[in-house]
């Protein structure tokens, strides 16, 4: 197979990978913040539930979570699975998993802010919500960017897990080409794709980091 046609086939798979990547970030970043709030809540049952949630999501393989989310409705409730649900299940599972990691990153960031800032804000007449969104959160972003970059790069590579419920993303396409062609050229091209994409992600995150680096 010509390199050109191989690249264009992999490109199709890459679009699926990028869709998973973007949709997962779109849902898991806000969801992670909510879970972080729950995790730090003064209301004990909520805090415990979030602790257990994070523990399960981080403690079991993402591949298993994909299988549970996709086949669970049938095996638990006998619901018929529609083909469209495959992709939805991928997004649900990835978002739930990554939200757990992001939640802990947010928590680390929020707890790094000295208590004195809250007290100062109170003295200055800020409400609790204003304090959090105007004073605390921007600083949290600055603190957590390096950790988030790590997770985001892992996410790019984790998209390849979604074939366990038959979503043919880029690496699956590469494996299929490799099997049909009896050569590993496609796998190497796939490696280059991942690398280039991750360099891009790292570049964007570095730019963000610079923008928030107002202290120096």
């Amino acid at each position: 197979m010509m390199l050109g046609s191989m690249v264009s086939l992999l490109m199709e798979g890459m679009i699926t990978s990028i869709e998973i990547f973007l949709l997962t970030l779109l849902f898991s970043l806000p969801l992670g913040l909510l879970i972080a709030f729950g995790r730090m809540s003064k209301f004990t049952p909520l805090r415990l539930i979030m602790k257990v949630y994070i523990s399960i999501m981080r403690g079991t393989p993402l591949m298993l979570q994909l299988i549970v989310v996709f086949f669970g409705p049938y095996y638990i409730f006998g619901t018929t699975l529609s083909p469209d649900y495959r992709f939805i299940a991928v997004i649900i599972a990835f978002s739930m998993n990554y939200a757990a990691y992001f939640a802990e990153i947010y928590r680390g960031g929020i707890e790094a802010i000295p208590k004195g800032q809250y007290e100062a804000a109170q003295v200055l007449g800020y409400s609790k919500i204003q304090t959090f969104f105007i004073i605390i959160l921007p600083q949290v972003f600055r603190i957590i960017i390096p950790s988030v970059t790590n997770e985001v790069i892992t996410l790019v590579k984790d998209t390849s897990l979604s074939f366990v419920i038959a979503i043919p993303e880029m690496f699956t396409v590469a494996k299929q080409i490799a099997a049909a062609e009896s050569s590993i050229a496609a796998l190497i091209v796939a490696g280059v794709f991942y690398y280039v994409f991750n360099v891009l992600v790292a570049f964007v995150m570095a730019r963000l980091e610079k923008r928030y680096d107002y202290l120096n």
């Binding site: 539930i49 409705p73 018929t80 939805i88 299940a89 649900i92 038959a166 699956t172 099997a179 009896s182």
Partner: protein, 278 residues
């Protein structure tokens, strides 16, 4: 302390239930769950074939299309029944969950009947496949007994593996090591590079790999066979209605020579030679 553990366990169960309900609820909301039983016949005229897209010549990727002998057969069956064929590549390890949940209608992909008779509702066998051993042409392995103490690779969960661990256990145990690899492409790479001495494999897949690598002089297939087995189309256990319909069409295709004609397109892969004679 025990009380605490019990409390945590209860929370775990609750969390799982909430997760399950939430995802199912969302699913219902999205319109996926219109009826509450698994679909046993393909009432909506689509025929979803589940297959492993890394299993040439029966199902594989050619350009942007999925092709293969089995998919061509399925295409013809659909044409004759006015169904729309959906080719759904699946993760082979998840095939039972896919079939039982109704997300695919059948498994049609060089699917071995032997040893799985009671797990699926089967069509009649259409391929008589042999498990063979591929070695390098310049190796001194000429028969199965020469494999003693050698490293032999086979695909995980494959028929060759089952044969070597079951009926042909003595042969399997005579090897230095029986190594499982994720796919046969890896197996051939290992054989070529010397990481293993032989590959135990289905004959059709062996022929395909040898031809597509342009290496008919590099590898040879031993004359001795490990075992022989039949391929069929696997349906969900009890789904005889759909099975009978597909079987009827397949019989017609055998009778009018269509099957042989399709097989002829895969001569390099050894398909015509392994067709079941009717």
């Amino acid at each position: 302390m025990n009380k605490k553990i019990g409390f945590i366990l209860a929370l775990v169960v609750i969390a799982f239930l909430v997760m399950g309900t939430a995802s199912a609820g969302l699913f219902d909301f999205l319109g996926g769950g219109s009826n509450n039983s698994a679909r046993v016949n393909n009432d909506n005229n689509t025929f979803i074939v589940g297959f492993d897209a890394e299993f040439p010549p029966y199902g594989y990727k050619n350009g942007s299309e999925y092709v293969g002998f089995d998919l061509d057969l399925a295409q013809e069956v659909c044409k004759r029944n006015n169904w729309t064929l959906v080719k759904q590549p699946i993760d082979w390890d998840a095939k039972d969950a896919e079939l039982n949940s109704g997300s695919i209608d059948c498994i049609w992909n060089g699917f071995t009947i032997n040893g799985r008779e009671k797990s699926y509702t089967w069509s009649e066998p259409y391929i008589d496949n042999k498990q063979v051993v591929v070695v390098k042409a310049d190796s001194n392995i000429k028969s199965l007994s020469d494999l003693k103490g050698k490293i032999v690779e086979t695909q995980k969960d494959s028929s060759a593996l089952h044969a070597l661990q079951g009926d042909n256990k003595t042969l399997g145990e005579s090897f230095g090591k029986l190594q499982e690899v994720a796919d046969y492409n890896t197996g051939f790479m290992d054989l070529e590079s010397g990481a293993c001495d032989a590959v135990a494999i289905d004959i059709g897949v062996a022929e395909h790999n040898i031809h597509s690598r342009n290496s008919t002089t590099k590898f040879v297939i031993l004359n001795d066979t490990i075992s022989s087995e039949k391929y069929g189309v696997g349906f969900k256990l009890g789904n005889t209605q759909l099975r009978d319909q597909v079987q009827k069409t397949l019989d017609e295709m055998f009778a009018d020579g269509t099957v042989a004609k399709i097989a002829a397109n895969y001569t390099n892969d050894g398909v015509p030679g392994s067709l079941v004679r009717k």
